[in-house]
Every structure is written in structure tokens, then in C-alpha cells.
Assembly symmetry: none
DNA sequence: CATAGTGTATATATACTATATATACACTAT
DNA sequence: ATAGTGTATATATAGTATATATACACTATG
């Protein structure tokens, strides 16, 4: 597992780590049950604090990508798709909220939004 | 022009002011060229700093709702209201599109989105 | 010009959030 | 016991958002 962090990046370290591990997991390079580098090991390798690697791993766990056991280590989770789905739901909801805020400020009705949504969704099969 | 601010709102004061004035303009209660309450007057009335009313007015000007002339005052912009609404519609549509893209990648149905939308819209009237 | 209205610029205070940390603690396997 | 593992607490630092006071500049009108 090859993680690279960059100081010149505008993204925080914990996010850089999490993003790279996410990609590795999604690409299938690693399998469910596989051990990840320990927080301590990764921290030492990257010369950062354990707490920062923990932050990355915690986020990954929250999003269902890995599982962590105190005293044992962190492991690639069973690709429990419903967890990942939940994350996508949250993301979608964020966008919807912004659309709603915009709409309310301009007397755009809920129905108008729903109609637009239907058109956008039905549009092209991606 | 009746502006109300609430300390218990989670929105900042300048945003509360801007939002209310936007609504008044969009609703047609005032016409292009009409004078808005002066920053100073409004500040005194609401017992807040001129700088806060200025912040609200600056935002409104940036978004094309009003025009401000130093030494004279602030006025409802000579604008095509339907154009502004169109702008807002397009903005909302952008957000919806992102929500749709996210959804489609995770088998989130159109109905799920619409249900979420309804909840978010009906939710809090800030 | 004097004046009283208007908006503007500068510098500042305060609170909140995000990021990252050190250190001490607790769990697990051998 | 020991050497791994993850965790909790308290803290430091930087950045951003919000709101302000005060002094300045523009505009109309006597």
C-alpha cells in the first residue's frame, strides 16, 4: 500500500490519506479482510501524528470502507454496498439542500424543483 | 419596507436582511428605481452596525438586485426580474444535477430524491 | 461654503471551525 | 511481560465568518 501526501496540496493530510485508500479499495487492489497498514506504522512512515492517521481511518470506517478493531488493527470491510450507498445518499441530500435554499429565496416552488428533478433524472441513462 | 432579524436564527444578520430584501424585490412589492432604506437608517432601526447593513447591500448589489451610489443611496436595480429568477433556476438546476449524478451512481431512485426534496423543502422556514 | 444626509475604508474584536499534535491510556496476541 | 495494536483527553495553531467602531468621502441643498 503506497500512500503519498503532499504539503502543497490544498487538501488536509487526513483527507489525502482517506481518498487514496478509498481508491485502492474501490479498484479492487485489496480484498475484504485484508489488513491495512497500522495507524502507527503509517504515521511513522509519513512522519505525521498517529492522530492524523486515526482521523483518516475513522472517516473511512464511518463511510463503511474499513473496519477497525482496538488492539488488532484495521481491515478492508466487506464491500457492504449499503454503507457506501448511505454515504452517497448523504451527499445527494447535501446538493438537494442547496437547491432548496436557492429555490426558497426566489419563490421557486417545490413542485417546480420536483419537475426539474424528474427531467434531469429521466433524461440520459448514465 | 419591513425587515425583521432574529437572534435565534442560525443565519447571520446580513444574510437575513439580504434574503428578505430579495424576496420583496422578486415579489414585485417594489419597483426598479425605488429607494431602499439607507444603510444608516436600517442599521439604527435594527440596532446593528452600518457595516452589517452594508454587507447585506453589497451582496444584493453583487447579485444584481440593487444599485448603490455613494452619497445618494441604494435603489432597486433596473432589472429584468424574470432574468434573475432564471438565474436562480439555473443555479438550482445545477445542484439538482449534481444530486442526480450522485444518485445514479448508487442506484438511488428518482422517487427517493423527490421524497427527500419534499422533506427538505417543507422543513424549516428560516 | 455648511450641513446633514448618503455610502465607504480601515483596522479590530470575537467566536467558531478545521487541522494537527503530544501524551497517556486500553486492548490483543504471543 | 512485552510489543504490537487502536483510543481518549487536552491542547495548539491557523483560518474563516461575523459583527463592530471610527474616521473618511461623496451628494444634495440651504
Amino acid at each position: 500500500m503506497n500512500i503519498i501526501i503532499s504539503n502543497s496540496s490544498d487538501k488536509p493530510i487526513y483527507e489525502q490519506i482517506a481518498t487514496q485508500i478509498k481508491k485502492i479499495i474501490i479498484s479492487g487492489e485489496v480484498s475484504p479482510g485484508d489488513a491495512l497498514p497500522s495507524m502507527r506504522f503509517l504515521a511513522k512512515e509519513l512522519r505525521i501524528s498517529v492522530i492524523t492517521t486515526k482521523r483518516a481511518y475513522s472517516d473511512l470506517e464511518r463511510d463503511g470502507f474499513i473496519e477497525t478493531v482496538a488492539g488488532k488493527g484495521s481491515f478492508v470491510a466487506n464491500q457492504n454496498l449499503s454503507f457506501i450507498r448511505e454515504e452517497q445518499l448523504r451527499l445527494a441530500e447535501e446538493f438537494l439542500q442547496k437547491a432548496v435554499d436557492t429555490a426558497k429565496n426566489s419563490d421557486i416552488t417545490c413542485k417546480e424543483l420536483k419537475d426539474m428533478l424528474e427531467i434531469l433524472y429521466g433524461g440520459e441513462e448514465a
